[in-house]
Symmetry: C2
Subunit: 669 residues, 2 copies
């Protein structure tokens, strides 16, 4: 196996990873000029100014506006625009966020929530960045529970205009990207009121600055100030003091207000309408998950290449010191993270394919697939961003003091991606959403889900989703079906056994949650909040197990797409490591529930260590397949790799030239 | 229990936490002026300039130079200086590091490695910061393995001087604090050569800048540039091109060179001498561990207070939204981290007491206690700094988007403490050191430990350390002794059972490591590196289990020091949570090894959740007892707490004043 793997060509692996949007990845890798590189150690002002200029230099044809309708110069391919944004994230995360806010959130909202009159008037200027925009949803007081935004927008038939107003400090729009400096217009979310009646949250196009860059009358703009990272993004705060908004600035695809103030909508229920509107904006979450993963790949590339050059401590009988990557403890840090990064890459690809199918389909949107897309986008975003935070931290530590210097890129990757765990949806809230989707099919068993705060994103669906598979359904069923009844008879590396373990855990956790909710519902009828709160940890684990199962299935399906046998064999071993790392990390649960015997649990740890040894020679190939250009990595320790080899040679010469006693001392084991 | 706990006075808890050096803590809390506060969003230059000035404003009598000999104006109390540094860390981590480098590492090395002539000439100017200094040990190529430094310092009897030289790029001194801008003198570590023979690493006092701030002849100083954090510390790189150093600048307490070049030392073995020298510098590690904990307390204070004011999502039948701290998922994040922070506070206090006893004792240093001190300092530094990194990250996420803004302090705490995991010893290397200490007593079983790289810090001792207890020895033995043979007969909250579980795990892991090393030694005689590398993960877990056992014992001993019964009861519940959280997190191991039945394992999780509910009302008291002044926390979200209450009141008024339909919509569940 080892010999076979040594012949793996990184380019063959890369083909599998690049996937359906390989053309977009290539266009971004080839199409950006030398200005597109992270700059280290900038002040906030310098970073903002550079990024403001850089976004205008992005060649439109690399894919960033693929999601725009073809009639306006896009290609109508939302998948392409997600992948293009993910690639920008590898260049500079501020640039990705700035572009994501402008084209993705602002432009995306105009496309999805607006109608022809808005498209005709604004889309071309949005595409060219002649009309820089913001997405003003979050308020200081409401981020996770956006249905409860406090900003109001009330229609007055006498003037034919809306009155947009911030009622108090906690209702100001907060953390808004592109607001502090560049934004000219914003999509503003507020409670629509007409005829003295409220119809829930809607969105309006509102100019916030004039052509000289001064705030419009009644608009107050503040600066969110210094942040942990993303220095190039000008986050700000916006308040509205009874700002007049013309009637036709309401983005009215899902809700219309007639000149006389009559409200109409094809979706009667306010909550359902709101979540339908939100659902069209799912691309933001998919982009954040993908970008977190892109940054993780950069960090792993730096740490693995450093560990293949850096030596410390000698081994007996060897003059040279030991490479960091040869230590088991170092492999234990880097390789499972690498395996998980591959796993999420396949899960992300599958998610983007679903997004593209759902959003670019000609016919009406399939409600079922739309809900599934939203749930997986939420869950994968949470898992991928936490994976990024943990892995980048680990990579920075794996590079020692060098990992703390800005010139080695890791501090920037860490600081910039940190916010991903709480923006575009707080991760814990998102996992709760996933769990709620899984439980919705069982509402009969324990009554309504209303006790669960108001996270009613998927409340309208009543169906079972848990073991539905999108990826390689028949292959996976065949593998699971082939596992014998007694675990002891099957190898720890059997793929069917992995799949079955992930599947059993999810099922058992879900059934347990239902049982506990049912018991709670019968015992604590007067305290509906407590019924849900008491099982919150159980329910979040259910969501995690669900996403891990989906991720493993996507990995298994992805391996099938590898044409090259050596690449396929390597991916299969990496998939073993992913599956067994997850099982090992959660062995407490598997042992508690009789899914692992103590002996088999110890065997899992032994096999993980064997896999680390086996994959050690492939570490470099595995990161090379990420194909992050060196100029994007922009890490001094990588540029110094060659220099370090020279230095070591010089050192060896020094040993030879030194007095005998010195040489002996230097070279002793 | 709950009613009893509600009456806990934070001041009574604080007394227990403040411990033996309460007077130092009070002096720092009271003695620093209004300039002593973290500033957010500074540029690197601004931060460096501010901190350079601020260190000179620290009143000497608050404890920062307590470690200096009384004859030179100190109080000869190394414990006091560690605690004072830890308190500075709560004000500003750059200030702590700058002070720690100057007084602790530079000054500390002159005190510990120098002799009367050095003390007389330099200590007063060091105390007053008139002679700002650096500690130049780490090189680009050697950080963890400092015994292998490449800088040389060769004596020439003809001139009576040393020749200090950097032989190649990888031998330059790197990451050196206080070097890029302020340092005038450095303690430089290099290989001592005299009479053509090498005697291992020694230290010299070397002027690096003249009175105008220009580098001395032959000295090249570079800037390490922008870093992830600690912007106020001027880290630099120093190279020496055959710099002449007078003979009397050798810090010669442990090794002397006579005018004719004859070397002498009271410690014959080079390695042993080197580690004895290093051992005197253990205070740096103790300070870093304590400072990481101090920063963790600031972060927890911010997150807990925010979670007690911030509301999101409503509960059925309640108009007000739910406080974040009322969610089980939020308690699951904050409370176990709080419990561990208390546990480490007691372990740190015990460590500082040991340090004070060992370093300020009148007689000769007890070798055994010195080694134990070094081992615990290494292990606790690793565990505390990882705890800090994880906890501060969690706190930042628990504050949502607000946690990403510099004005809320968490980004600074996170970025500044990050380096602690790899400086003053890489955490993984330090844990290996701890394990090596534990295994040293068993060398007969598997031969020498030389295969294990050259981390021979504690190689000289041959003794068993594993179950030696320093804290409340008799109490703990009584508790453990009272546990019945069958676990099922003892409550999950029984303290003796907790202690026994921690103790059994450590013993079993250690015995397993010995067994595996012995098996390896008989099977792989020709590959000594592999013998150790194959069990590296097992050995690191042994070290972790050892430190966790010591930490629990320190917590148990600390509870006894609480005079107030309510405070004592609360600490005892918090100790339950610490012990059970650790057991729960490692339940895979306990189940694998028959220390937990599946039923009891599930019971542990149930009791942890019960404890969270029980401790929920005490969260605020628990952080108030950390007694971090609001001006030091310097977080906008805390200043806005009152404002937010006003805003909510305004919001409630708005609901009442709004049209009926709007009010109904706003207040519906």
């Amino acid at each position: 196996m080892s010999g076979q793997q040594n012949s793996v060509d990184a380019a063959r692996l890369q083909e599998v990873l690049d996937g359906r949007w390989a053309h977009v990845r290539k266009a971004v890798r080839d199409g950006l000029g030398p200005d597109f590189v992270t700059v280290h150690g900038e002040t906030g002002d310098e970073a903002r100014s550079r990024i403001s200029g850089l976004i205008r230099k992005i060649p439109i044809d690399v894919g960033v506006v693929d999601a725009f309708p073809a009639a306006y110069g896009g290609s109508g391919d939302p998948g392409g625009s997600v992948v293009a944004a993910e690639m920008l994230a590898q260049v500079d995360l501020s640039l990705m966020v700035k572009a994501g806010v402008h084209w993705g959130l602002f432009g995306g909202a105009v496309v999805a929530l607006g109608t022809a009159k808005h498209h005709d008037k604004y889309l071309r200027d949005i595409m060219t960045v002649d009309l820089p925009g913001c997405f003003a949803m979050t308020e200081t007081g409401h981020g996770s529970d956006v249905q409860q935004l406090r900003t109001t927008c009330e229609y007055d038939p006498a003037t034919g205009t809306f009155d947009l107003h911030t009622p108090h400090e906690a209702a100001r729009k907060d953390y808004i990207g592109n607001a502090a400096k560049d934004g000219r217009m914003a999509v503003v979310f507020a409670q629509l009121v007409t005829g003295g009646k409220r119809y829930g949250v809607h969105a309006w196009l509102v100019p916030i600055r004039d052509e000289h860059g001064n705030p419009m009358p009644g608009v107050t703009i503040g600066d969110a100030g210094a942040k942990a990272g993303l220095l190039g993004v000008d986050n700000g705060r916006i308040s509205f003091d009874h700002v007049t908004v013309p009637r036709d600035m309401l983005l009215d695809r899902y809700g219309q207000v007639a000149p006389d103030g009559t409200y109409s909508s094809s979706i009667e229920n306010d909550t359902r309408r709101f979540f339908t509107m939100l659902g069209t904006l799912v691309r933001g979450r998919v982009t954040v998950g993908g970008s977190a993963l892109a940054a993780t790949k950069s960090a792993l590339t730096i740490a693995v290449r450093y560990g293949d050059a850096r030596r410390q401590f000698t081994r007996p009988g060897d003059e040279r010191e030991v490479l960091l990557n040869d230590y088991l403890a170092h492999q234990r840090k880097l390789l499972p993270a690498l395996a998980a990064t591959y796993a999420y890459t396949f899960a992300q690809e599958e998610l983007v394919v679903t997004l593209a199918d759902v959003q670019s389909g000609a016919g009406p949107v399939d409600e079922h697939r739309q809900r599934e897309l939203e749930s997986r986008a939420a869950g994968l975003k949470a898992m991928q961003t936490w994976h990024a935070t943990r892995t980048i931290q680990m990579c920075r530590e794996a590079c020692g003091g060098a990992g703390y210097l800005a010139e080695n890129r890791l501090p920037g990757l860490k600081a910039d991606t940190d916010v991903f765990t709480t923006f575009e949806g707080d991760n814990t809230v998102l996992l709760q959403l996933v769990a709620k989707g899984l439980l919705t099919g069982y509402r009969d068993a324990f009554g309504s889900l209303d006790g669960w705060g108001r996270a009613t994103f998927v409340a309208e669906q009543v169906r079972e989703m848990v073991l539905e598979r999108t990826a390689a359904r028949s292959l996976i069923q065949r593998l699971v079906g082939a596992v014998p009844g007694r675990d002891e008879e099957v190898a720890v590396t059997d793929r069917g056994w992995h799949l079955k373990m992930f599947e059993d855990r999810e099922k058992h956790l879900l059934e347990g949650a239902i049982r506990r909710l049912r018991a709670g519902a019968s015992g604590k009828k007067d305290r509906p909040f407590d019924i849900f709160n008491d099982v919150q940890d159980h329910v979040l684990r259910t969501a995690t197990a669900h996403i891990e199962r989906i991720t493993l299935e996507a990995f298994v399906a992805g391996i099938e797409r590898a044409a090259d046998p050596a690449a396929k064999a390597l991916l299969s071993r990496l998939c073993d490591l992913y599956a067994l790392s997850v099982i090992e990390a959660d062995k407490g649960w598997f042992l508690e529930h009789g899914r692992l015997t103590p002996a088999r649990s110890k065997a899992v740890t032994g096999v993980v260590n064997d896999l680390l040894r086996e994959l050690r020679p492939q570490m470099r190939t595995l990161v090379d397949a990420f194909a992050v250009p060196d100029s994007w990595l922009n890490a001094a320790i990588l540029r110094e790799e060659a220099a370090r080899q020279d230095a070591t040679a010089a050192e060896d010469d020094a040993v030879r030239a030194a007095p005998a006693a010195v040489a002996q001392s230097l070279s002793r084991a």
